[in-house]
Symmetry: C2
Subunit: 401 residues, 2 copies
């Protein structure tokens, strides 16, 4: 119960070393979540807990019905922007997946997923009591998901259980290699067999243009803190009208003594979700996001440029499909790994050398395989990253072409 005053000191003046303009941060999960200036102003304004609830409508007390700030409008605009009918902001992309799994499946049902899905996809299925059937990838060096195999995997489920899977999930761009998958094709395969498709767009929606309607997906989930210049935790759950009816089911529980019931509340959201600051950052950054996805081609150019430069280092190659169609990059470097084996700091030499050059975000200690993300860097910054790597390689005697 008693916490010594001295122990509390550490919570005062919390600082983030890598915030702001001091460093070029290549952390693969962080590039798309850097706040806009608008969001930075709004988060202070709406920092207090329940800050968005000042004008909660008494007759329909629900986050998505609030008009001041314009949350109701935002949900509409968000759905429209993604080419879907209905959108909700939930606490995390993983929660959006859990909600879909929980509401569309019954314990023991299957969901067919790609084998490069984020770990949270597996956990969301597990928490919902679903079994998974994985669609294979082609392995090294491309790790390409065999999207045609969705058909076979769905058939397998039918053979095994006598019915199709509750749904299928495709990771639009995976977190390991940054490969972009053909969502339209998978949607077509799934629909031929009557299976709805959830597209996990955590790495795509918010940074590249996505039209879920055109892709033909039934559910599209995204991550505000990953790709929408928003604070954590924010997830996006967008759906067709048909799916919304199944997923956003109203509560039907009733008190056995009191008779209390809550039919105005959406069951899987547990009523309301993100009642404050992170939702506001998502809204404040939205105009920028709508505009920035149009500049996606330029972002991909920067990623390809950096890959080209890094591959000049002896024994270094990009893994995943080439050329890059996304800014998340997985590099393999036998060269840098060789240096690490005789360096007194082992693999940390790379981290040290990059940090000296004001570059952070690559996992400290890694050299043989490491990931980075160029999203939103200026050309000058990308060039600085490229030159730094080449300089470090040369410093340690690696050949550069």
């Amino acid at each position: 119960m008693e916490i010594p005053r001295q122990r509390l000191q550490k919570y005062l003046g919390l600082k983030r070393e890598f915030a702001g303009k001091n460093y070029i941060n290549l952390n693969p999960i962080q590039r798309g979540g850097i706040l806009t200036d608008e969001a930075r102003r709004a988060i202070v304004e709406f920092g207090d807990g329940y800050s968005v609830c000042d004008w909660c409508p008494p007759k329909t007390p629900r986050l998505d019905k609030i008009k001041r700030p314009p949350i109701a409008d935002f949900y509409e605009d968000l759905a429209k922007f993604l080419g879907m009918d209905v959108a909700r902001v939930v606490t995390r992309c993983r929660e959006a997946k859990f909600i879909a799994f929980r509401m569309l499946g019954r314990p023991g049902d299957y969901v067919v997923i790609d084998s490069l899905a984020h770990y949270s996809t597996y956990l969301a299925a597990e928490l919902a009591g679903l079994r998974i059937k994985e669609v294979p990838h082609g392995g090294y060096p491309e790790f390409r998901i065999e999207v045609d195999a969705y058909e076979e995997k769905i058939r397998e489920v039918v053979r095994e259980t006598g019915k199709p899977p509750a749904l299928a999930l495709l990771t639009h761009v995976d977190y390991l290699y940054g490969n972009l998958n053909d969502a339209a094709k998978v949607a077509e395969i799934c629909h031929e067999q009557g299976v709805p498709l959830l597209l996990n767009a955590a790495y795509t929606a918010g940074v590249m243009p996505i039209d879920g309607g055109k892709l033909g997906v039934d559910i599209l989930v995204g991550s505000g803190h990953k790709s929408w210049a928003a604070s954590a935790p924010t997830g996006i759950l967008a759906m067709t009208e048909e799916m919304a009816e199944k997923i956003l089911r109203p509560s039907s529980i009733r008190g056995d003594w009191s008779g209390r019931s809550f039919p105005a509340k959406e069951l899987p959201l547990l009523g309301c979700t993100v009642m404050g600051a992170p939702l506001i950052t998502l809204m404040a950054s939205f105009p920028t996001v709508v505009e920035r996805v149009q500049r996606w081609d330029e972002e991909v150019k920067k990623a390809r440029f950096l890959v080209e430069q890094l591959e000049r280092i002896e024994g270094t190659r990009q893994l995943g499909v080439k050329p890059k169609q996304h800014t998340l990059i997985h590099m393999e470097s036998q060269g840098l790994y060789r240096v690490s084996q005789t360096h007194k700091r082992k693999g940390f030499f790379l981290y040290d050398e990059l940090k000296k050059r004001r570059i952070v975000g690559i996992q400290p200690g890694l050299t043989k395989h490491f990931k980075l993300n160029t999203y939103g860097l200026t050309w000058d910054e990308v060039r600085h990253v490229a030159e730094s790597f080449l300089e470090i390689a040369e410093k340690y005697g690696l050949k550069t072409s």
Copy 2:
């Protein structure tokens, strides 16, 4: 897909009318969630998405293992402060309840709850597939939960299903009347029958001193944005060691093709939970919270003073148990209601009159029954609220004693 530029204007320059020092905000859910200055500084520093993940430990990549910022230490201090063994920060108090229900119960199992539980308690049970059995309250005007009836309700479940309920839940202070329930007594009853007790301390932990160990509860949940001077969404899930083993179960799913598995991840948290700003506000405000709970008696005095003053108005009484043991107050006013019936603004006259006096947060339109919360108001502010009500009553010809 296309959002007209003009439609995006509304997301720029988002302002909160009731923020800051302009108004005395009596909103019952908002008093305990106003950020400290420390938290206001920290939220800007850690506004970017995934801002706390700079130093995620590669071998145990989990929020509760992060040492910079000191999240690992914080979880320990948080558990200790609440008199529990283990704590996790989750996205909302309602999620904490869902997690406990989901992990301790099986679909069809019962949970025994008090009949003044928050609606999200009902939804959490419903989402976890549990049935509820309600412990009655005594009705008007005290609405006192009949805590002794936990025993009978547990026996009812045993008779009906052949086994005890998965758990019981007690709302420490309810959101309707602000009644404080005897948690120690309910814990004793539950334990005599081998049933774990979850205490929903959303309105108590963070504002008043709570020692879950001393109360003997097995699980204690709380709300950062409601009572810990933190941004939404933040929930607290604190447990005994024994409960933690059952609730924080590691993931055990395995990829059927890839063999991938994630035993380092806690299943019900879906891995990580609040990866950014709100968690940081909770940490930054923690030293203040540790100190402020010691001043709870003074807070109760202010609430009692205001009740006493409001009851001077003709036909006006406090509902719920008297005298107040909490700052959440439910008033019934036949007097103000009578005024509303002939006023051209109907019940909104009260809102208008209060707002003129820089007082907000009572639901616009209500007069016969309304709720307010005095937590954290200065004595001057409490007096101003009291005087304003009396002034308004007199203005409309109500007697004041």
